[in-house]
């Protein structure tokens, strides 16, 4: 898969080199970016996730597919801590984060996007990304205004250019189109040196042109950033992912590379119904 580095300032390029080195070290030690060990999540009598065991290597890009209600978004919520697992353990880069609150997991390099855009409607586009950059660094409680030459503001503007939102940087989020809001979702997830991102249906509601832009953005992510993508558009999912996990009724149903999954008769049976080759 072609992965070209995004156009970024020199300070970030240095950071990228360091992180790519770190990725090489992680891969050489065989450490996983994400490990789920017997994770279950119950809502009363409903078992949304049942005994999930999943490992994702550092820098790996994986698609999680499945029909509605398969448990994909619940899986994301269990990983981020929005809805902690009822049983089981979650490890991020070797560290057990099961009992950590959401913001602590985020500060360890985890990011996510949401199925329905969750943005700060009353703030400008650049303020949204600035806050996301600041969220993973110090100075979150600062009572001083960021200066025009503030490094975080600069990184925020660079990120906006990378997701093609530079022209609307000062617009209020409420004024953006649906497609632009989805792109801003991705910018928030990319802010603040992420190491592992969970994309929840990022292509939902996008036009064909916007989907192409999305694929380009995902393919151009720096190699140290691994991700899991939930996507109903198989074209998007299979073009950006190097491995696929199929879910069904809260369980892992099948794992493999995109070609294996595409040609698997069980998957075809599940997705398309019986009688399809």
């Amino acid at each position: 898969m072609a992965r070209s580095a995004a156009k970024i300032p020199s300070a970030v390029e240095v950071d990228l080199v360091l992180r790519t080195d770190a990725l090489t070290r992680l891969q050489s030690t065989g450490q996983y970016a994400l490990e789920l060990e017997a994770v279950s999540r119950h809502f009363g009598a409903l078992v949304a996730l049942a005994d999930i065991n999943l490992t994702v290597k550092a820098g790996e890009r994986r698609a999680v597919l499945g029909s509605n209600g398969a448990g994909k978004t619940t899986l994301f919520n269990a990983i981020t801590g929005d809805f902690p697992p009822t049983t089981g353990r979650v490890r991020l880069f070797g560290e057990d984060v099961t009992d950590l609150p959401v913001h602590e997991r985020i500060r360890r390099g985890l990011r996510r996007t949401y199925q329905i855009s969750l943005l700060f409607d009353g703030l400008s586009v650049v303020d949204n990304v600035y806050l996301a950059c600041r969220g993973a660094s110090r100075g979150r409680l600062s009572l001083r205004r960021p200066k025009p030459d503030d490094a975080m503001t600069h990184v925020a503007e660079t990120l906006l250019d990378a997701v093609h939102l530079g022209a609307v940087r000062d617009s209020l989020v409420a004024e953006l189109s649906h497609g632009q809001q989805r792109q801003l979702e991705i910018a928030l997830a990319l802010a603040g040196a992420p190491r592992f991102i969970l994309f929840d249906e990022p292509a939902a509601g996008l036009s064909p042109t916007e989907r192409s832009e999305l694929i380009e953005i995902l393919q151009s992510l720096p190699p140290h950033i691994g991700f899991i993508i939930i996507e109903h558009d198989m074209d998007v999912a299979l073009r950006v992912a190097e491995s696929v996990t199929m879910m069904h009724n809260g369980r892992i149903f099948k794992e493999g590379n995109p070609k294996e999954i595409e040609s698997d008769p069980d998957v075809q049976e599940l997705y398309l119904g019986g009688g399809h080759a």
Partner: protein
């Protein structure tokens, strides 16, 4: 309308709006042409009440947390002025110097506010209102029933500001300027702080707390810190309040007065920090002159009706009403513009 520059030079009060410039000049020279009654009872009292309501606007307008405990926080500061400093009742009154008493009272009020925040920030909407109202009611009954520290039903009297630089600061004009200085300081701090990293994050938490967690913010900590800062504002106003009245008793922190602060903030408008001062002025004018419209005992009917009218016809308060009138006048002048604000 074109902006003007009051003072030439880079970064020195650039682009002050003429209306703002006229308001500032009016406030500065108000004691020169107003009677003592209007300077003290109307001007200074509006500024004190407006400052307490400003602390609510900071929490509710920027943080989405409607707290009914802001007057309680101010009341604690007022009580501490009497307990730690001087009073004429002969109970407590530890005789600390005024500056140490004031600093301690303000800090204690801020910590108290942060504690209220710690209790209430995990709730939202009506539940936050109920919890903070419960705290305000509990404080009222506590100070009314506690005679050892709070002197029960009687409370404290003879709590006055010091004579400093040869000026007795409870005289109408000095007290007006003291209140104006405090109000202006916190007004500009809130305006400045709204664009600070913390101010932006507070507004973002108001818009979407879940997303704020998902970009690394400890939402609970931020909310509690907002309560602490609002406590600084309310506590300082509480010191002014007890100096203004010269006394403090359970009646000063009763439920009716607690609700008045919410009424002031809503009537003025929560969209801008000037709103609570506009609301406070309207409230104080009604409080003083309702007797000319209706029987004194019916004041609450007048303020309640005014509140209902504002909420019904202008949910964003007098500020919103003024904005709509301006927009209508602008449309009449330039009928081609649809005023949609979409560029």
């Amino acid at each position: 309308m074109a902006n003007i520059s009051l003072i030439a030079g880079k970064g020195v009060l650039p682009n002050i709006h003429p209306a703002a410039a006229i308001t500032v000049l009016f406030l500065l020279f108000y004691p020169a042409f107003a009677s003592d009654f209007f300077v003290f009872q109307i001007g200074a009292y509006s500024l004190v009440l407006g400052t307490i309501a400003l602390s609510l606007v900071m929490l509710a307008g920027y943080g989405g947390m409607v707290s009914l405990s802001q007057l309680t926080v101010a009341g604690l500061a007022g009580y501490l002025m009497a307990i730690l400093g001087h009073n004429s009742v002969g109970v407590m009154g530890l005789g600390w110097p005024w500056w140490l008493t004031a600093l301690t009272a303000i800090f204690a009020a801020s910590v108290f506010s942060a504690l209220i925040g710690a209790i209430s920030v995990r709730t939202e909407g009506i539940y936050t209102i109920m919890i903070t109202l419960a705290i305000a009611v509990a404080f009222f009954y506590f100070v009314r029933q506690n005679y050892v520290i709070f002197n029960g039903f009687t409370g404290y009297a003879g709590v006055v500001p010091p004579t400093l630089f040869g000026i007795y600061w409870r005289d109408p004009t000095p007290f007006y300027y003291l209140s104006l200085a405090v109000a202006a300081f916190f007004f500009f701090m809130v305006v400045y702080g709204a664009r600070s990293t913390f101010g932006l994050s507070l507004q973002a938490i108001r818009d979407n707390p879940r997303r704020m967690r998902a970009i690394g913010y400890d939402v609970t900590l931020h909310r509690i810190f907002a309560y602490f800062l609002s406590g600084l504002i309310a506590g300082t106003a509480g010191v002014l309040m007890v100096w203004f009245n010269g006394r403090i008793s359970p009646g000063s922190v009763g439920v009716d007065v607690v609700i008045d602060i919410l009424v002031i903030a809503v009537v003025g408008g929560m969209r801008h920090p000037i709103g609570p001062f506009v609301g406070a002025l309207a409230f104080v004018l009604l409080e003083n002159f309702a007797i000319d419209l209706i029987d004194r005992e019916r004041f609450n009917t007048v303020i309640g009706t005014a509140f209902l009218l504002v909420v019904l016809f202008s949910p964003d308060g007098l500020l919103g009403l003024w904005a709509r009138i301006r927009e209508r006048l602008r449309l009449r002048k330039h009928p081609q513009s649809d005023g949609s604000g979409v560029h």
